[in-house]
């Protein structure tokens, strides 16, 4: 394959992955605070439809994106309210919203199917785009994609390098300590869930106004991305940079599927399209195995030196979720 095509391919991956970056970063923030927002699949579909609808109606890209963020925030608010204030199961409410969001997207979106709407223009950055190799890959994108790059860095920076970001980690790890240090745990959880939800809400319009412009109902091919995003958050160990790696890996797998298609005529195109999904989810096996129960008993049966060594090794490989993820906080 010619190098030129590879560059275009890689650039394409970065662009096509932009929506999932938004979703994954948003959900990473929410889960760092200790809340699981399982509704991602439904929210992304809903905001893709909604963002497109608003953009078409008002002929404004900006309003479309704004609409997406607001819808995403509202859905997240329902999740936050149900789980933080009403203390209902986060998994249950998230799943219901995933279903509901999806059906709402299809129902409300049917009148606008196939319409042509505004599309985010390409925005190559002059000078930078001429740098050999890196140029055409990174700097020949559009605004949402550039924002997605920035988002990864900003999120990482915020979570790990700023004072409020450290407290964010604290809320998810050990809310009792955060409380003792003066944080209003539940209020912050609301805040971060909503912010995360808004970011997830932007993922939809990035798709329907940029990556694959328009709303095509069930053929959009957007169904399922929300679930993938959830898996990538785990795979990424709740770290935006590592999660971004997971997103691009997924994008690469998808691209490979397309590229390898002609050389594998026996395998229908849909299979190669779907294949990256289970692959990403099954990577969870790798990052989770150290946490299984039988491991402790097994370790105890080993001689001392081996046991200490293995225990250390397993601890370093593990990605542990924020210790308080999914657990409502009550003091006294």
């Amino acid at each position: 394959m010619e190098p030129q095509l590879i560059f275009i391919g890689l650039a394409g991956i970065l662009g096509a992955s932009a929506p999932i970056i938004f979703a994954v970063v948003g959900e990473t923030i929410t889960e760092r605070a200790g809340v699981i927002n399982l509704s991602l699949n439904g929210t992304i579909l809903l905001t893709a439809m909604g963002g497109f609808a608003v953009a078409v109606t008002f002929d404004s890209l900006w309003l479309g994106f704004l609409a997406g963020a607001i819808i995403g925030a509202l859905v997240a608010l329902v999740v936050a309210f149900s789980s933080i204030t009403l203390k209902q199961s986060q998994v249950a409410v998230g799943f219901i919203l995933a279903m509901l969001g999806r059906d709402l997207a299809y129902f409300l979106g049917s009148p606008i199917m196939g319409l042509r709407g505004p599309r985010v223009p390409a925005l190559p950055i002059p000078i930078l785009v001429d740098i050999p190799i890196i140029g055409p890959i990174f700097f020949n994108q559009n605004l949402p994609t550039y924002v997605s790059f920035l988002l990864i860095v900003l999120a990482y920076f915020y979570i790990f390098k700023t004072r409020p970001g450290l407290m964010l980690q604290g809320i998810g790890e050990r809310p009792a300590t955060a409380y003792v240090r003066g944080a209003n745990v539940n209020m912050r959880r609301y805040l971060y869930t909503i912010i995360g939800g808004a970011l997830v809400g932007l993922a939809g319009p990035v798709f329907s106004l940029s990556v694959k412009a328009g709303w095509k109902g069930t053929i959009s091919g957007l169904d399922g991305f929300g679930w993938i995003a959830l898996a990538i958050v785990i795979f990424g160990g709740w770290n935006p940079i590592r999660a971004a790696f997971g997103v691009y890996l997924f994008g690469l797998l998808q691209w490979l599927g397309l590229v390898l298609q002609p050389s594998l005529p026996n395998i229908p195109s849909q299979v190669l399209q779907v294949a990256p999904f289970p692959l990403m989810i099954l990577t969870l096996l790798l990052v989770n195995i150290g946490n299984a129960e039988w491991v402790d008993r097994f370790l105890a049966s080993l001689p001392d030196a081996t046991r200490h060594f293995l225990a250390k090794l397993l601890r370093s490989l593990r990605t542990s979720p924020p210790a308080s993820l999914g657990v409502p906080f009550e003091n006294e």
Binding site: K161, T162, R163, P164, L166, M167, Q169, G170, E173, R174, A176, T177, A178, Y179, V180, R181, G182, A183, R297, A300, S301, D304, R307, S320, A323, N331, E332
Partner: protein, 487 residues
């Protein structure tokens, strides 16, 4: 800063954890607070540090009454508490832990914080690496960090809750040096502990708590006997105890070593005879719980052997132990012993041997009613277990045990029960002993330990005493061992 507590009351449901506590703690002094588990010391300190609200009473600093509504209020007033399990953020670094919670701008000035931290820790000769992760530190080091953090935030009153649990002797020495330095600087230090030796060595004044009350205050020189008596109360006259009849060994531990992420217990050798009752004494967290769970087959020992009737059963799964007649009754009744949402009948059906595929509801109800009568449980066959009182839950747990049983392992069998229920529980247990069942039990009630055990093992920080003959042990001796003296 002088701290005065006036008439503090705190209730948790029916439990009166703090009953009209009045105390004065002076600056520049180390105030000791002594008492058993459940005496009310931790509750009082949590009130002082803002974690709980007192139901009644007043707190004064240097004569001025103040309101403490939250932990941040407390810190603003200069009161900081070092919790027994230091409240920190395990997967984060030392430096990050320091920064979180400090008031400041968005961007922490890491260099500045680092500098101040290193300077501060030098004063106390601590050796913490700012980049290491909290979950790699020992408990002692986590304490050091928390002390530094509280000082850094400007604490003038420092409360230390059971600080010497789980730290090495060297770390303890360092801690005490630190505390003496701080006292010398005019800080008010409050040292809460059950460890007699430490409290006697360190404190300028000791206040003793028992069952929610402040029963006495002492100044040096301290009389250990007097302290023990205040902590544990007078001994009730013991009944005549019959010497054990048989001497057949049913259960044996050889060189048993257990490792837990918190402690290590090494080299236990013990032979338990049929029908014998062995009491496990010691403050919570000293290792008795791990030991009893290993006896039950829940924890696998890293070294040593467990034998039942001569047969080696080390490492076999828990259900195998159960089948061999080893019954385990956990302490947390609703969390580990019973199933919320299920009725008494349900529980008895689950506990009995399965009879066919279908549940015969009528028979099950009859059985349950019988058990309810036998065990005097205040409830009906259809009562769900969370609606029962603690005492009745305990009776249920005992009623659920199979017969016959070779060894019964009980964690705190009479905790939270009134005298009548406790006596009744023990009569049932003794009945089993007559049938040859061995009993191993954990209790924090010294009278109970002394009265019902044939032999006693005392646990302290993972160390185990040699078995004591209960008949020849006094409350005093027991109390001292529990407090760590003589290990």
């Amino acid at each position: 800063m002088n701290v005065e507590l006036k008439n503090i009351h705190k209730r948790f449901g029916a439990v009166h954890a703090n009953n009209g506590i009045c105390m004065v703690m002076e600056s520049g002094k180390i105030q000791g607070i002594l008492g058993e588990n459940g005496a009310g010391k931790s509750t009082l300190m949590k009130i002082l540090s803002g974690y709980y609200h007192a139901d009644e009473g007043e707190i004064r600093l240097d004569g001025r009454p103040i309101k403490i509504d939250s932990p941040s209020d407390a810190i603003n007033h200069g009161i900081g508490m070092l919790h027994q399990d230091p409240l920190d953020f395990p997967p984060m670094t030392v430096l990050d832990n320091l920064i979180i919670g400090q008031v400041g701008g968005i961007f922490p000035k890491r260099k500045k914080v680092l500098g101040e931290f290193l300077e501060l820790q030098q004063k106390f000769d601590f050796n913490l690496n700012p980049e290491s992760y909290i979950d790699t530190l020992t408990v002692g080091e986590r304490q050091q960090l928390e002390i530094l953090r509280l000082l850094w935030l400007g604490a003038r009153v420092l409360i230390l809750d059971e600080p010497t649990t789980g730290i090495s002797a060297a770390q303890k020495e360092k801690l005490f040096e630190t505390l003496k330095i701080l006292a010398g600087q005019g800080m008010t230090l409050i040292f809460v502990s059950h460890k007699l030796e430490d409290v006697e060595f360190l404190c300028d004044r000791i206040a003793v708590f028992r069952t929610g009350n402040l029963v006495g205050e002492c100044e040096p020189p301290y009389q250990t006997d007097a302290l023990v008596e205040m902590m544990f109360g007078r001994v009730v006259s013991l009944d005549e105890k019959k010497k054990l009849e048989t001497s057949e060994v049913c259960f044996e531990f050889k060189q048993l070593s257990i490792e837990d992420y918190r402690l290590e217990i090494r080299g236990i050798n013990l032979k338990i005879q049929r029908g014998e009752v062995i009491g496990l004494a010691g403050m919570e967290g000293s290792g008795q719980s791990q030991f009893i769970r290993t006896c039950a087959g829940l924890i696998r020992p890293v070294n040593g052997e467990v034998e039942l009737g001569g047969k080696r059963i080390t490492g076999k799964p828990y259900h195998h132990f159960m089948d061999l007649g080893i019954a385990y009754v956990p302490a947390s009744r609703l969390e580990e012993g019973l199933i919320p949402g299920l009725s008494l009948t349900d529980h008895f059906v689950l506990a009995e041997k399965q009879n066919g595929f279908l549940i015969n509801r009528e028979k099950a109800q009859l059985l349950t009613s019988q058990r309810i009568k036998d065990f005097n449980i205040k409830g009906t066959p259809s009562s769900i277990v969370e609606s029962l009182s603690g005492g009745n839950q305990q009776r249920t747990l005992l009623a659920l045990l199979r017969t016959p049983v070779n060894l019964m392992l009980l964690e705190h069998p009479t905790r939270g029960l009134d005298i009548e229920s406790s006596i009744w529980v023990w009569s049932k247990l003794k009945d089993r002993c007559k049938q040859g069942t061995g009993v191993l039990f954990i209790s924090s009630d010294l009278e109970e330990i002394l009265h019902y055990s044939e032999r006693i093992l005392v646990f302290f920080g993972g160390k185990v005493s040699a078995p004591l003959e209960a008949q020849h042990t006094t409350v005093d001796q027991l109390g001292q061992l529990i407090g760590g003296k003589g290990f």
